[in-house]
């Protein structure tokens, strides 16, 4: 049986940041992958494919947020067989995906290992029905603890996590007073009047096994009996390199951007000229 010609080589790699907003936060990572690969086809992106009988477009995904958690900062990398302007590609892909799955940033890859730079995430947890005072108290108790261990059932059985150790910072604000906007494209004006609402903003270090925002909530319950009456709404606001001193998370694509503006486009043998 003929195997066909070898797949065309990749000449350019692009890193993208995308979101999972509003109701599309219920998209699982598998669902997203299928939707993204179809969007690549609809926008006729010249993808590099793996070899073999069932060639797959070359896409690598990093550290996806769990199903049900919204995100402003998910990352992936694609390999192309022809050069493309990152910003135009971003706009095309964004238009091809349903609103809520938005492609919001694109850079040409100039530096190795994006995954290594994703050191921590900034999470926002919206707790409806919890007063900011109550949340403050719980946060203070949590932060005062040496370690806060919680258990969760994982693929490998029940594991114990130290949630306190993973948390670099934790702040509380009042959900009724303006910071109540949800990560949702539809959620901008969703400050529900007259109801207690606390917003937690936390920076969590990425570790193995990963400590998830719901583990921190379990930790708050364990240390301070914090029990939200309705499911918390969780949004990843950012992920990237962690500055331990200031506790801030910076843009993981900054290095690529800096390299791109310092050096003119690298030339790697004969290839199509970049489309303007």
């Amino acid at each position: 049986m003929p195997e066909g010609p070898p797949p065309a080589p990749a000449v350019q790699r692009i890193r993208l940041r995308y979101t999972k907003r509003g109701r599309l936060r219920f998209t699982s990572h598998r669902d997203f992958q299928r939707a993204f690969e179809r969007a690549l086809r609809r926008s006729a992106v010249p993808m590099a494919y793996s070899a073999g009988f069932t060639p797959h477009p070359k896409v690598s995904y990093a550290n996806a947020a769990p199903t049900g958690v919204a995100s402003e900062a998910e990352y992936l990398e694609i390999a192309l067989t022809e050069e493309r302007d990152p910003e135009r590609l971003r706009a095309q892909l964004d238009a091809s995906l349903p609103p809520g799955l938005d492609v919001v940033d694109a850079v040409e890859v100039r530096t190795p290992n994006l995954a290594d730079r994703l050191q921590a995430s900034v999470w926002r947890i919206r707790l409806d029905g919890v007063s900011p005072e109550e949340a403050e108290r719980a946060a203070a108790a949590f932060l005062a603890a040496e370690s806060v261990e919680v258990e969760r059932l994982t693929k490998n059985g029940v594991r114990v996590f130290d949630t306190r150790g993973a948390v670099a910072s934790l702040e509380v604000s009042d959900g009724r007073s303006g910071d109540g906007a949800r990560g949702g494209a539809e959620g901008g004006a969703d400050v529900r009047p007259g109801r207690a609402c606390a917003i937690l903003r936390l920076v969590v270090r990425h570790a193995t096994p990963a400590v998830r925002p719901d583990d921190v909530l379990s930790g708050l319950r364990a240390t301070a009996d914090l029990a939200p009456p309705v499911p918390a709404e969780v949004t990843r606001l950012a992920q990237g390199p962690l500055d331990e001193e200031s506790g801030t998370v910076t843009d993981p694509l900054a290095a690529d951007r800096a390299a791109a503006s310092a050096v003119p486009p690298a030339t790697a043998g004969p290839r199509a000229t970049a489309t303007a």
């Binding site: 219920f26 199903t67 091809s96 809520g100």
Partner: protein
């Protein structure tokens, strides 16, 4: 009056259910229209799980046809799984559409698509969750009109109590006609309430309104007659037939879900109807005559559909796709156009001949040749004559030899058990056939590692087919016959290991049989099953045979009829069948003759290439066969470079 989205209330429940993405809508190519700018609003339901319902071709077509019209909106709703149902009941969240999450009760028309009778209990769950009274007689002018369509609607009698009306046949034009009648009635200020609207629909002759018909029974339990009880209501209701498929290129923008579904490809219906004349096949009988989409029409639909969806596979659908007069040019043309783009082509291949192998080769030009599927349906030559599946064992073996010679390694064979006149001997022939297939495969390839899978299910006699009079085989007999076949296959030293055996036991078939050929008395059984918790009857893990039998015993007690009466009893020529007043165009006498021919093992040809054999459809429905060849070819597409 603005209608509020239930989404905020639903959203709070979603973190607690499996696969929440199926309830949030927002699929690519879905449509949300302004409620107040529309005066006729349809909620369309496929009464099964989202993963099965979303890709349903019929619903997708109607959704688009309706939404394209000014002033009309259509939204979709599917059955919710029991985990969400329980939460919705607890928190008072009603059945909602996935498009704008509007409550189903707020719509003017609630249209349900029944491809299978096993969706009936799910309809009751949806009605109750929607807050719509289960029985049509209890509904008010503020409830939607509940209308059923799809193949099962050709015998709507078992669900007659729950329906306001039913439409048989193609829905494209029918839903637009209904829309106009609803629009006019609303514009006039809803004169005469629900009854007046239903009467206007019934008088068209194309909408069946069960409450305008009385069913009279004979002392022995059979039906005496079915009589219209309201002036102006016709004795029989006609099916709808859409002519010239090129004028109906739907779906133009197939829905692309985020959730995983059973069928993820860009499907194009390449023709509708089938006159091969397999006697067990309801779909073939009720969708006559054959109407082909032209090769150029197909090419255009594929091109636009792929652009709109990004699907990586195209399915060329119909009841027997290799029969399209220009299938060779279609397959080659599409393969030429799309191999570069790594778009796969598939066609549900069922016919057994060498031509099909050429086609399959063309479709898999650059892919892996893994499995080919054929449906001989019957194991012995004799039984294949009974069912009018004209294929000989030599044909099959020759075809299989070609397939293996072309690099295919696995053959799947589909069969039925319990066909009229069938004996153990007929079914045991299946084992012989499978062995011969493997022997041939080994001979042609010189390899031992050849696989053949036998898949077999129980036969269910269906309305509007020549087998509508036939006795269905009981559960024990079906299971015993299947066990004999399994043993015959497993015990074979030489080939047994290479034959896969997949079968369905006889129980679901009996329930399907009860619902397929039931009459209005079955409504009480369906309701009892629903109230006892029955849902998702098409799913093995939810289906309960015992519950169905218990509920049937209770609901039918004292009526003189029981499950056997409906299923394993043979009917006579004179018997009035519950669906006789629904006109599929098929002449009942022709069906009877075909039934007699079956018993005498006489075959009948296909009217596409032999003279009309007077099944009755074309003159009765004023339709005609529409087939090519057009002689046209698919030209390569000009490459548009995007950057």
């Amino acid at each position: 009056m603005p209608v509020e989205s239930v989404f905020p209330r639903l959203e709070a429940l979603l973190p607690h259910v499996q696969k929440p993405i199926q309830y949030v809508g927002g699929e690519l190519n879905s449509t949300v229209k302004d409620w107040d700018a529309c005066d006729v609003r349809w909620a369309l339901m496929y009464p099964d799980a989202y993963e099965v319902g979303l890709p349903n071709q019929g619903v997708m077509i109607l959704y688009e046809v309706l939404n394209e019209r000014e002033g009309v909106l259509a939204e979709r709703t599917y059955s919710v799984w029991p985990d969400l149902e329980a939460l919705m009941r607890e928190h008072g969240v009603p059945q909602f559409t996935v498009d704008a999450h509007r409550p189903v009760k707020a719509f003017d028309v609630f249209g349900l698509s029944f491809s299978t009778e096993l969706g009936y209990t799910n309809m009751l769950a949806a009605l109750e969750l929607a807050g719509i009274p289960l029985e049509a007689k209890d509904r008010t002018v503020d409830d939607p009109i509940v209308v059923a369509g799809g193949h099962a609607a050709f015998n709507p009698e078992p669900i007659a109590d729950f329906l306001d009306c039913a439409v048989v046949g193609d829905g494209e034009q029918a839903v637009l006609d209904i829309t106009e009648i609803v629009r006019a009635w609303k514009a006039e200020g809803r004169p005469g309430g629900r009854d007046e609207l239903l009467l206007r629909l019934a008088r068209t002759g194309g909408v069946y309104v069960p409450r305008f018909y009385d069913v009279e029974y004979l002392p022995d339990g059979r039906i005496g007659r079915v009589v219209p009880n309201t002036p102006g209501v016709p004795w029989r209701v006609s099916k709808h037939t859409v002519m010239d498929l090129d004028e109906w290129p739907y779906p133009k923008q197939p829905l692309v879900p985020l959730a995983e579904t059973v069928h993820e490809r860009m499907s194009v219906e390449i023709f509708r109807g089938c006159t091969r004349g397999c006697r067990f096949c309801q779909a073939g009988m009720i969708t006559r005559p054959v109407r082909e989409r032209s090769i150029t029409g197909i090419g255009e639909m594929v091109e636009k559909g792929l652009k709109a969806t990004g699907f990586e596979e195209v399915g060329l659908l119909s009841l027997s796709s290799a029969d399209h007069t220009e299938i060779g040019d279609i397959a080659k043309g599409l393969a030429d156009r799309y191999t570069e783009d790594k778009v796969g082509l598939s066609l549900p291949s069922t016919r057994v001949d060498a031509f099909n192998i050429d086609l399959a080769n063309e479709l898999t030009r650059n892919g892996r040749r893994s499995g080919l599927t054929f449906a001989p349906e019957g194991g012995s030559e004799r039984i294949r004559k009974v069912i009018n599946k004209m294929v000989s064992e030599e044909d099959l073996i020759r075809t299989v030899a070609t397939a293996y010679g072309n690099g295919w390694r696995q053959v799947k064979l589909y069969f039925m058990c319990g066909l009229p006149t069938e004996t153990d001997e007929d079914v045991l022939q299946i084992a012989e056939m499978a062995k011969n297939v493997i022997a041939k495969g080994r001979e042609v390839t010189g390899q031992n590692d050849i696989r053949c899978t036998v898949s077999i299910g129980g036969f269910v006699p269906k309305p509007h087919t020549p087998f509508q009079w036939a006795p269905q085989l009981g559960v024990e007999e079906t299971d015993a016959r299947l066990a004999k076949l399994r043993d015959a296959i497993r015990s074979d030293r030489k080939y047994g290991k290479n034959i896969g055996f997949r079968y369905h036991d006889g129980k679901p078939g009996i329930v399907e049989g009860l619902l397929s050929r039931g009459d209005r008395r079955i409504g009480a059984v369906i309701r009892a099953v629903y109230e006892d918790g029955g849902r998702f009857d098409g799913w093995r893990e939810h289906f309960s045979y015992d519950r169905w039998m218990d509920c049937a015993d209770k609901a039918l007690a004292g009526s003189g009829v029981d499950v056997d009466w409906y299923t394993t009893r043979e009917r006579s020529y004179e018997e009035v069948l519950p669906w006789d007043h629904l006109d599929s165009g098929l002449d009942k006498d022709w069906l009877w003759e075909d039934w007699q021919d079956a018993l005498e093992e006489v075959e009948v040809d296909d009217c596409r290439w032999t003279p009309c054999f007077d099944c009755g459809v074309c003159p009765q429905m004023q339709t005609e066969i529409q087939i090519g060849p057009t002689g046209k070819k698919l030209l390569p597409l000009t490459v548009v470079n995007q950057g």
